[in-house]
């Protein structure tokens, strides 16, 4: 089954959807869903096949673009296709009343196709081409809503162009020194390269992928982009698109440079991996606690996206087989949870007319039960409660940190989880629990096409939570392709030699505990359902206001740690832009408008030329 068909189907599909959009909305929606479903099926069929095809040649640079499929690319391809399909399904209802809907569907499918292209490409040139197409596609989608989204989109595209130009610099220097850009041949050629050159390459690639994966210093575009983008696209953005940076890290650090070479970089403690781990650790702590302080639900989730990205970087930074597996598994887990939570926020936004401020919402549990369950599954997935998928991956990351005895990194990871629990509780409580304000009295549940993706993702969280073996089998295949000795895993968890993790026992224990709690609860005194406001208040008129105290949840915490968590990196970037703007203003004044000065420039240039020669010549 040709890889090129996947790409052709997805790119042409986007075109066809746009064209059908010209005729009728219904046909376009159906065809969009069908195209993304077809892509999911095609990727699913290509499970464990090893394919390598040259699909286009550029003779004047004697280069050829080629595609390949192995476990790593299949793993990310299925995530891209899955989340893409679900977000298209989710946006059927969501996007209905926006204008330029045809453009939206075209761009969604185009960005998905770009991501598939990145994941499947086998040489850096096609990798870069698809990477850039994905970037400017995302730029158009982020600024799709207009208003504040325009500034967010511009901020995103500038940082992503800067990152990808750094990457282009490294790619072309690779091509200039080795004459080929194929991953396989580069992997062997780089073994004999000088450590300094490899460090330079890795630095450039880390900048390029770091911007996309929002590691700490390069993360400032992410909160605005997620907050302003359309919810279905924010789900794709946080779940999959940002993880392309992760795919890039895995690609450059393990499949090209290779584990053995990585250890040789740097001396003692200062080697490349250790620094990466520390960046990962900082990326966990600071964004998670800034998430704590956010009042806008999307911004809160965006900061969590950065935080969870820190776990993944930490995982693969440790460079043990358990760590790498933990990092990759966490990529999948967070993709599922992040997308699910953004679907939840999107559903609420859809029903409450675009309200995202946590202090306004409340008590929606009665009106939107399915969304509540999905939200509950999502946040428990985010925290890593046992029986959810990220419990397994966080467990693996903690275990490897402890076994490799990095105490401070482990401590940072724990604090991260602790911060996640605090802020995620605020998220769930303010939206679903507490008293339902009047204006949301008639809020109905979201239509079916928006519920299906939420339900599917919640089931996935639970499924991978109980049976981690499914993704771990693929991940061990990936580790084999990296040359790292693969992790021996059972369907339900880890075998004894790496420390027992058997999820079936945990499941059994929790089931028993659940039944016992239920029995106690149902046998106890019958509780009478009481309407909130018919309590006797000695004849006083009972105000209909909110009794709920949940507004401004962590106010005290905000006053204490707020000043420290001010995003200093963002200010640095704005300062930099301001400084360059003023310097451009000075440069602009070269053209004074006076013709004598212009003639002076011409003659100065002539005399300079004569002097340059006389100086050198004589």
């Amino acid at each position: 089954m040709q890889l090129i068909t996947i790409l052709v189907v997805s790119f042409l599909g986007a075109g066809i959807v746009y064209l059908t959009g010209k005729f009728s909305g219904r046909v376009r929606d159906i065809s969009a869903v069908l195209v993304s479903l077809a892509v999911v099926i095609l990727v699913g069929l290509a499970y464990n096949q090893k394919i390598y095809t040259n699909f286009y040649s550029l003779p004047f640079l004697n280069l050829s673009l080629s595609l390949r499929l192995n476990y790593l690319s299949w793993f990310f391809a299925i995530i891209v296709a899955g989340i893409g399909f679900l977000s298209i399904l989710f946006s059927l209802e969501y996007i209905k009343d926006y204008q330029g809907v045809g453009f939206y569907y075209f761009m969604m499918l185009f960005v998905n196709a770009g991501m598939l292209g990145i994941v499947l490409s086998a040489d850096f040139l096609s990798f870069y081409i698809f990477w850039e197409m994905m970037s400017w596609g995302t730029y158009l989608l982020i600024s799709y809503k207009g208003g504040k989204a325009v500034a967010a989109g511009l901020k995103y595209i500038i940082m992503s162009v800067a990152g990808s130009l750094a990457m282009l610099f490294a790619i072309v220097s690779l091509y200039a020194s080795y004459g080929t850009l194929k991953f396989s041949s580069l992997a062997s050629l780089l073994q004999i390269a000088s450590p300094g050159y490899i460090l330079f390459l890795l630095l450039m690639f880390v900048v390029g992928f770091g911007v996309k994966n929002a590691i700490w210093t390069l993360h400032t575009w992410l909160p605005d982009a997620h907050a302003e983008a359309v919810s279905p696209f924010s789900a794709v953005l946080t779940g999959v698109l940002v993880r392309m940076g992760m795919y890039g890290f895995l690609l450059i650090m393990y499949s090209i440079v290779g584990l053995s070479l990585l250890h040789k970089l740097g001396y003692g403690l200062l080697n490349f991996n250790y620094i990466l781990c520390w960046i990962g650790a900082i990326t966990i702590v600071i964004p998670t606690f800034t998430a704590l302080l956010q009042n806008d639900s999307k911004r809160l989730l965006a900061w969590h996206g950065i935080g969870q990205g820190g776990y993944m970087v930490l995982g693969i930074g440790v460079a043990t087989s358990l760590g790498i597996a933990g990092g990759i598994l966490h990529t999948l887990n967070y993709a599922v949870c992040g997308a699910l939570l953004f679907f939840v926020v999107g559903a609420i936004e859809h029903r409450t007319g675009g309200v995202r401020d946590l202090n306004e919402l409340g008590g929606l549990i009665k009106r939107m039960p399915v969304t509540f369950i999905a939200g509950l599954a999502g946040i428990s997935g985010l925290i890593g409660v046992p029986l959810t998928n990220s419990f397994v991956s966080k467990w693996m990351i903690y275990k490897t940190l402890i076994m490799e005895n990095y105490p401070f990194l482990a401590f940072a990871a724990f604090i991260g989880t602790w911060g996640t629990i605090l802020s995620v509780y605020k998220f769930l409580h303010n939206i679903f629990l507490g008293q339902l304000p009047e204006k949301y009295k008639d809020v109905k549940e979201v239509p079916l096409t928006m519920q299906i993706p939420m339900i599917l993702l919640s089931l996935a969280i639970i499924l991978f939570g109980i049976l981690p073996g499914i993704p771990l089998k693929v991940i061990s295949g990936i580790e084999k392709s990296f040359g790292v000795e693969p992790l021996s895993t059972t369907m339900f968890g880890m075998p004894k030699e790496i420390g027992e993790l058997n999820l079936i026992n945990i499941l059994a224990v929790l089931l028993v505990a659940g039944i016992v709690v239920y029995l106690i609860f149902s046998l106890s005194a019958k509780s009478r359902r009481v309407n909130q406001d018919d309590n006797y208040a000695a004849g006083l008129f009972v105000p209909r206001g909110k009794y709920q105290y949940s507004a401004r949840f962590y106010d005290q915490a905000y006053r204490i740690i707020g000043p420290y968590l001010h995003d200093v990196v963002d200010d640095f970037y704005y300062w930099l832009v301001g400084k360059s703007k003023s310097s451009f203003q000075i440069v602009r004044q070269i053209y004074t408008g006076n013709i004598n000065t212009y003639a002076l420039y011409i003659l100065l240039f002539l005399t300079l030329l004569i002097f340059v020669k006389l100086g050198w010549g004589l």
């Binding site: 004598n596 002076l600 003659l603 100065l604 002539l606 004569i610």
Partner: protein, 236 residues
């Protein structure tokens, strides 16, 4: 203003130094003729023109002159475009000017009436004998233009019919390019001298040269007149 003067003087001194250095390599008056030997020795029998400069201008380097005529054509058209004022504005302007422009003095009017045909004759003589005596299309045209300039000075209100000027201009330009294209058709080279050379030193010799120079003479003459007319802003 002071600093600008000082800087420009320093620059000009450096340029002067550059000039001196370069001119020292080109000795004045020495025989540096290289390609031109061919023109001088074989000029007459190949082009039939006695005035070698004319044969170089029209035959050997005819493309330059074609470019040259185009440059003048562009200048005239460009001037017309830049100084173009809509019809109604012009009528209004010429009406208001009627009263105060007094007629030119009697001497000037009669003198120019007398001289004008002589100048035209002299101009025509120059460009007809382009290949025999020094002079040619450009010089003859300029003389004709100065003749028209004299008429403009003498009669402040009159001006030439612009329509006929532009027709003559484009016609003579077409003749020049047409001869070039004919050359291409007949002997395979653009602007080649396909007409019989005739006997040197007689009026009807040197193939296409006199025809082209007559066309160029008319063109330059009328173009410079239309330039002056546009500048004076009297055109109808």
């Amino acid at each position: 203003m002071r600093t600008r003067k000082i800087i420009s003087i320093i620059i000009l001194l450096i340029l002067a130094g550059g000039f001196i250095l370069t001119f020292s390599q080109i000795p004045f008056g020495k025989d540096k003729i290289n390609v031109a030997h061919y023109y001088i020795s074989k000029g007459i029998e190949e082009t039939g023109a006695v005035n070698i400069v004319t044969s170089v201008v029209l035959n050997y380097r005819g493309f330059d002159t074609l470019g040259e005529v185009t440059v003048l054509f562009i200048a005239a058209i460009g001037l017309g475009a830049v100084l173009f004022t809509e019809k109604r504005v012009q009528k209004h302007a010429s009406k208001s000017k009627d009263d105060k422009t007094k007629k030119a003095s009697l001497i000037l009017r009669t003198g120019s009436n007398l001289l004008f045909p002589l100048i035209l004759l002299f101009g025509a003589y120059i460009f007809v004998h382009g290949h025999l005596t020094p002079g040619g299309g450009f010089q003859g045209g300029a003389v004709i233009a100065s003749g028209f300039l004299l008429m403009y000075l003498a009669f402040p209100k009159q001006s030439i019919n612009k329509k006929s000027l532009s027709v003559v201009e484009s016609l003579s330009g077409l003749i020049f390019v047409g001869i070039g294209l004919f050359g291409l058709i007949f002997s395979g080279y653009f602007l080649s001298n396909f007409l019989p050379k005739g006997i040197p030193n007689t009026l009807f010799s040197a193939g296409i040269i006199p025809i082209i120079y007559i066309a160029v003479g008319f063109k330059v003459g009328f173009e410079l007149t239309s330039v002056i007319d546009d500048l004076l802003g009297r055109g109808k």
